[in-house]
Each structure stands twice: as structure tokens, then as C-alpha cells.
């Protein structure tokens, strides 16, 4: 598990100007945290900084891990599978890239694909899969290196509602079982509240934190959580803050 500390992190692009500004954030080890904000608010940039894919212009980022070899898993907005590889080969890719043997990579991929319910589709190619199944492969690929930090960038936004609900429940269960730190970026309040232990609301460009709210819905979450009145209270409270955050910027 990994603890992530951001200190006065700021980043911008020539076309857009500053998208993240003076941001302080501590993500506790083993936490499931959601970054919530309107589209284009800089939350994806923030996620890429945490993933180490982007060096922030200013400020410091520190990732603390145990003695285990540290890996990050990343799930993109779309599944981003390699179309010439089968389901099994796609899930095995990260291990091949870090230099494990092919057979070792495949064994680990087979195991992680079983966890996301794809043990019967190992030899299929991505163009034979539904959107939900592709995203499952993508999640399996991110988990195959046994990451201590899993980062997801609006992974379910292109799926239909039913598939999205099911995948949210599965992701939550995976987090409970695998003990890792998860950072989940989304623009859906309901998704953030359902999934996370803590929800951060960001203002549009440049991203600043306007709400840092613990989500006390208990450890075990499933379909019944969505009917819970506390769940609805939290959704409406966070929605209210998101709306005012957006209003102040428009």
C-alpha cells in the first residue's frame, strides 16, 4: 500500500494555462479516494502527476511505500487494449514490460482475469468483447503487477448504466480484498460517493480543493447501498458543493 503526499503542486500547459494550482493533498495508505470535478477541471492532470506520468512544474510529490517493490496501475478513460493481443496477452503485458518471463506473466494474468470474471474469454480479441468486458480486461491489466497504488481516470464513463453499476461493485470488492490505495477520478457524484472512503471536490481550472468529505457508508458496499438514505444524503450534499464550486468559476 502506498501513501501519497502532494505539497503545493502546480502544473499548466501552454494552451490552457494553469490547470492545477498550489494543491496540498495527502492520500492515506490503503484509502479509496475519489477526485470529483466538472469535465476539464484538471483532475486528469492531477492523476497523471500522481501516476508519475507527468512531472509537476512546481511543488513536491512524495510516494511512501512499504518494503515491497512498488508498482502503479492505471486505468484509462477507454479500455485502451492492444487490439492485436488476446485478452490473456493484454492482461499479461505489464509483466512482460517489466521483464518477467512470458509463462510467469501469463500465469499471473490468468489468475487476475479470473478475479474479474473473464476466465472463459482468455483467447478472445478485444474486437470480440463488449464495452464492459473490455474495461474488465483493462482493470485486470492494471492489477496484474499487484500495484500498491491503483489510479483510475473516469474508467466507466463510456459504459451503459447497468454495466457501470456492476463494475463499481466489483471494483469496490477488489479494493476490499487486495489492500491497495485507490485514486478514482470521476465527474459522477453518485459514483464517487458509492465507491470511496473519501471524496475530494475540485474547482474548474485551476483545480483547487473545495470539499474534502469522508464517506461514512461502512466497509461493505453492494447494490443495497444505493438504496440507503445516508447514501442519498451524501450524494445531494456533495452535489450541492460541486454545483457551487462550478458556479463560482463560471
Amino acid at each position: 500500500m502506498a501513501k501519497v503526499t502532494l505539497e503545493k503542486v502546480a502544473h499548466g500547459f501552454p494552451e490552457t494555462g494553469e490547470v492545477v494550482s498550489e494543491l496540498d493533498l495527502t492520500i492515506e495508505s490503503g484509502e479509496f479516494i475519489s477526485l470529483l470535478g466538472p469535465s476539464g477541471c484538471g483532475k486528469s492532470t492531477l492523476l497523471r502527476i500522481i501516476a508519475g506520468l507527468l512531472e509537476p512544474e512546481r511543488g513536491k510529490i512524495h510516494v511512501e511505500v512499504g518494503d515491497r517493490k512498488f508498482f502503479r496501475g492505471f486505468v484509462f478513460q477507454e479500455a485502451q487494449l492492444l487490439p492485436w493481443r488476446t485478452v490473456l496477452e493484454n492482461a499479461a503485458l505489464p509483466l512482460e514490460l517489466i521483464g518477467r518471463s512470458r509463462s510467469e506473466a501469463r500465469a499471473a494474468a490468468r489468475e487476475v482475469l479470473a478475479k474479474v470474471g473473464l476466465e472463459d474469454s482468455l483467447d478472445k480479441y478485444p474486437n470480440q468483447l463488449s464495452g464492459g468486458m473490455k474495461m474488465r480486461v483493462s482493470v485486470a491489466r492494471a492489477l496484474v503487477s499487484e500495484p500498491s497504488l491503483l489510479l483510475l481516470d473516469e474508467p466507466f464513463s463510456a459504459l451503459d448504466e447497468l454495466a457501470r453499476d456492476v463494475l463499481q461493485e466489483e471494483l469496490r470488492a477488489l479494493w476490499e480484498n487486495l489492500k491497495m490505495t485507490v485514486v478514482f477520478v470521476t465527474h459522477s457524484v453518485a459514483e464517487a460517493v458509492f465507491l470511496s472512503e473519501r471524496t475530494i471536490v475540485l474547482t474548474p481550472r485551476p483545480a483547487r480543493i473545495v470539499l474534502d468529505r469522508p464517506i461514512e457508508l461502512g466497509q461493505k458496499r453492494d447494490a443495497s447501498t444505493r438504496r440507503d438514505s445516508r447514501y442519498w444524503q451524501l450524494v445531494s450534499e456533495v452535489s450541492e458543493r460541486l454545483r457551487s464550486a462550478r458556479g463560482s468559476a463560471l
Binding site: A51, G52, L53, F76, Q77, L82, W84, I98
Partner: protein
């Protein structure tokens, strides 16, 4: 299966026979001189009488075009990989590559004879020169159009440049590489025949000699063989492309239906 083949093959074949017969009848009836337009039956006679000469010419041209094509595939792919890796080299070289591409091969063929002499090497060089540019251009385009998210994925696991190239960029570029190869295959045959006009040998020389003898029927026979050769080359590339892409690429799968 057989019914489908018949359905696919019969209409064009029937049309061909119809057109050939129409030509034959028209040319006989109208007394068009043989040296202007040969009758299809005369062309057929050339195929029967000069089988050995035509077969040898066909073989020579196919070898020269084949060598030129393979050479431009190897050199062109390597060049595209180097250009895709270094933006500096790309900026320095690409404008000249584009300029060089516009030089007609027929204009430099005499130079090639001076450098490589009469015969096969000049013909190979000619096939190489015309077929390399589409390979460089489409391979480079393919290598540069890799999805940025996938490059990020590879960076996440600190993939080496070699792995990035072989496991991501090259497979991603395959559809474009094959579309370049398809164009190059046809051009290699054209380049070889142009080279043979000047340097001798193969179908190009058959056309050239028959022309000076006013043997229009033989010119036609050689032209038909050149077209067939081009078709064989392009079909061979299509077959390789189909084998490489059939499992996963939409363009191929659409054609399978």
C-alpha cells in the same frame, strides 16, 4: 462454396470472353491493320509460339522487381523507424525525401545505366527507387500515429525503447505499413519495366524490341504479362496483410464477410 465461387467468377469471366470476341469480330470485319491493333487471336498465337522467350522475360522482370521490392521494404522500414525516433533527423531529411520522390524514374534511368551498367542491377535499382517512398511515408505515418494513452501505459512500466517499438509502435502501424507495401508492390513492377526499357532484359526489353519490329501483337502479350505480374505482386502483399491482420483489424474483417 462452389456456388459462391461460380457467382463471383462467372460474371467477370463471361464479360472478358464477350469483350475479346467482340474485339476479334470488330477488328476482322473492319480490316484494321494488325500493326495498329492486333486481333486477340494473334496475341494468343504469340503466347503459344514464343512461350519460352516470354517465360524467361517474365521470370527476369519478376526477379528484378522482387529484389527491388524486398530491398525497398528493408531499407524503407529501417529509414522510417529512424525518422520516427529522431525528430531532428526527420526534420533534416524528410524535405529532401519528398523532393527526391518527385524526380521521375524515367529521367534518372540513363544515370542508373552509367552507374550500374546494362542489366539486372540497374533494373533492381529502378524498381527500388520508385517503390521505397510510399513505404517510408506510410510506415512513418503509422509509427507516429500510436495512441498517446498506450504510450503512457508503456511508460508506466518503464518499457525500454526497443519494447516500445516492437510491442507497440510496429504492430500499431501494421495496417498502414501494409497499405504502403501494396502501393510499393505495384510500383516495383512499373519501375523494373521502366529500367528494362533502358538497361535491357525482361518484359521491358520484349516490349521495346517488338515495338521496333512493329510486332504489336507481341507488345500486347508482354503488356498483359506485366499487368499479370503487378497483380501477382499486389495479391501477395494482400495475402501477407490478411494473414497478419485477420484476427484483429476491422478493415480485414469487413472484407471477410
Amino acid at each position: 462454396m462452389t456456388a459462391r465461387v461460380l457467382k463471383e467468377v462467372l460474371p467477370p469471366l463471361g464479360f472478358l470472353i464477350f469483350v475479346v470476341l467482340l474485339f476479334e469480330a470488330f477488328l476482322r470485319f473492319d480490316h484494321v491493320p494488325e500493326y495498329l491493333v492486333p486481333r486477340p487471336s494473334s496475341v494468343l498465337k504469340v503466347f503459344i509460339e514464343d512461350t519460352n522467350e516470354l517465360a524467361r522475360a517474365f521470370y527476369e522482370t519478376s526477379m528484378a522487381a522482387g529484389f527491388g521490392f524486398v530491398l525497398s521494404f528493408v531499407v524503407g522500414t529501417m529509414t522510417a523507424i529512424v525518422l520516427s525516433i529522431s525528430p531532428l533527423i526527420r526534420r533534416a531529411i524528410l524535405p529532401y525525401a519528398i523532393f527526391f520522390q518527385t524526380v521521375p524514374v524515367i529521367a534518372i534511368a540513363p544515370l542508373l545505366v552509367i552507374w550500374f551498367g546494362f542489366g539486372m542491377p540497374t533494373v533492381i535499382a529502378s524498381a527500388f527507387i520508385v517503390s521505397i517512398f510510399p513505404i517510408i511515408a506510410s510506415t512513418l505515418l503509422g509509427l507516429q500515429s500510436t495512441d498517446p494513452a498506450l504510450i503512457e501505459l508503456f511508460r508506466l512500466y518503464s518499457a525500454s525503447p526497443a519494447k516500445l517499438l516492437l510491442k507497440l509502435k510496429v504492430p500499431f502501424a501494421l495496417p498502414q505499413i501494409f497499405s504502403g507495401l501494396r502501393i510499393a508492390a505495384g510500383l516495383a513492377v512499373i519501375g523494373a519495366i521502366v529500367g528494362e526499357f533502358i538497361a535491357g532484359g525482361g518484359l521491358g526489353a520484349v516490349v521495346d524490341v517488338a515495338r521496333t519490329q512493329q510486332r504489336t501483337d507481341k507488345v500486347f502479350a508482354a503488356v498483359l504479362l506485366s499487368a499479370a505480374l503487378g497483380l501477382i505482386f499486389v495479391s501477395a502483399v494482400n495475402l501477407c496483410g490478411w494473414l497478419a491482420l485477420r484476427r484483429w483489424h476491422a478493415s480485414v474483417q469487413a472484407r471477410n464477410l
